[in-house]
Symmetry: C2
Subunit: 342 residues, 2 copies
């Protein structure tokens, strides 16, 4: 793994290859668009109308062992994570997942106990969020592949999409950032931390949580104008909302986790870099109508979550960070398959 | 590839490994069952109730390049096949697919033109059956992985499940068998065929068709008591219906394709083996209530398809073949990942 002085994970030979978003754009351009789609292509989930008001919400995302599973993550954790990363997308739209199907690619040599461990991890990941695994298929693959597809239903008008942010809205997040970025550095490289810190940071990587109860509460509150999950990093999430809503952001607080500040200090890293440009984190990044802030806060706190205002939506397309009087541009980079994985 | 004298593709070192169905059984035993499931675990599709009458029908299956894509299949064909194999499962239940999501695992080194070819193949596979690809995700994988998940809606009572066959019902199929088994032997091994025959047989492998219009017509006719697709081979399909419906079969005609008879003769193979124990074929295998045979036949013919009676459902669990006075047992083997792939 290459490191620069900020501790960012940098691309190797794949620097010149296409990124995930470019690939999705190429694919989208080759597809005939379904008429009357309730959710634009490229949002966190897809959807189809069931009737005039309700939609079926659908999502699929794949976990591949070599790129998505760090060395000390167990099969149980990997399987659970495959569910969590899909459920996080549902959370960001305010949709309760009902059922999951799993398509499993198994390399040769997997034993019964391995398969049972995967199955129990899948079940745990679904049940933790009140969903069930109801089917799927299996076949042989060169590496372990866990492809999850998720289903739920929602009122169309209750969906929190990426494209509704308005200048003046409050930018907020459901938690602190940087733990997964720090944890990955610990697990993949020679960075150091105390035993306690190591537990917290590697736990963030191996046992991620989806902010489903927060997402559902925010959905019910009606206070949200745009929403996304932060699986590709906070900075990237801001750029995505910005692009879909045609707005900019002014961020005046970077929500860095305490443990990340300690890890960064100990390893001479920049904690703000870790929090902005990490990824594999599943916080929600939302914009809130200013008049509805109190309702949003009350809704999230009522379910035991927290919501932190970190800036505001601005006119134009600039993504600016203004912390302690130092203004800088928030770059459009983050955790992207093909570009930033080791 | 090993061959025995019948030309069957036999397992190598994986003979002792677990088969796909054993793996699915192990997984199912670790999952907490969702209450009130409209379709039993292990049928061709999964489903969830939308309301008291309607269900959302869901399916996911994965194509992995090294096991599912023979050497001369193009990326366009592979992508199209990933759709077709999922649509075939919908066809067997009598359900129109509405929307597909695709989770794509791409090995390094794929170029823009490769991705465009895959995307056009996905689009073609969906549009051929009046569905749309509406979303998905992409990441890096060691080999090309195309995981498709399919969605549609249906009346619960109209679903053609595997578990409704009754003794005395007519066993029927929507076409002739063995072309894919012969085609795979041509593509993977040293068997011979004329140029014309080669085109037909390799076409069966590279451009499979799902019997969707036949499945929808049979669903509307109300004549079907049980249904499955034949993607793991005709013999295996019979055993699956038998197991789920607690019945046996007496087959008195093996529907061998003419081209397969010629291929078998030329290569000294047993055509009945090719037709019974092949796979990667997407005919429907159905049981029809005897009084409704005329309606079933009329329904399928009205959409330009054909339906061939090949035997009947019997009491007990025996699977027997009785052709030209020679009685033998139809074995529970077929085309199974992990067990029969080269």
């Amino acid at each position: 793994m290459d490191k620069d002085k900020t501790g960012s994970i940098n691309p190797h030979s794949t620097r010149t290859e296409m990124g995930e978003r470019k690939i999705i754009e190429i694919i989208a351009n080759c597809l005939e668009a379904m008429p009357n789609l309730p959710v634009p292509f490229g949002d966190d989930v897809s959807a189809v109308y069931i009737d005039q008001k309700r939609v079926a919400v659908l999502k699929t995302d794949m976990l591949a062992a070599k790129t998505d599973v760090p060395p000390n993550m167990s099969l149980w954790q990997a399987a659970r994570k495959a569910l969590v990363m899909n459920i996080s997308d549902f959370a960001s739209k305010g949709v309760q997942p009902t059922a999951a199907l799993v398509s499993l690619g198994l390399p040769r040599g997997f034993m019964r106990k391995d398969i049972e461990e995967i199955a129990r991890g899948l079940n745990a990941g679904a049940r933790e969020y009140d969903a069930y695994v109801i089917g799927g298929d299996t076949g042989e693959a060169s590496e372990l592949i866990i492809s999850v597809s998720l289903y739920g239903t929602a009122e169309k008008k209750a969906l929190m999409l990426r494209n509704g942010a308005k200048p003046g809205d409050i930018l907020a997040v459901t938690g602190f950032f940087g733990k997964s970025a720090a944890g990955l550095r610990l697990l993949l490289d020679s960075y150091k931390a105390s035993a306690n810190l190591r537990d917290v940071l590697s736990g963030a990587v191996c046992m991620p949580k989806a902010r489903l109860k927060e997402g559902l509460a925010l959905g019910r509150s009606g206070a949200v104008s745009a929403s996304i999950d932060s699986s590709d990093g906070l900075a990237w999430s801001l750029h995505e909302i910005g692009k879909m809503s045609h707005v900019g952001f002014l961020v005046n607080t970077v929500p860095v986790a305490e443990e990340v500040k300690r890890f960064a200090e100990f390893n001479h890293l920049n904690p703000i870099e870790l929090a902005l440009y990490g990824g594999e984190e599943y916080e929600l990044v939302v914009t809130i109508k200013p008049k509805a802030w109190v309702e949003a806060e009350a809704a999230v706190e009522a379910v035991g979550g927290c919501i932190l205002p970190i800036g505001k939506v601005t006119k134009g397309t600039k993504m600016l960070l203004d912390v302690d009087g130092e203004k800088r541009v928030i770059e459009a980079r983050g955790w992207e398959h093909f570009k930033s994985k080791i």
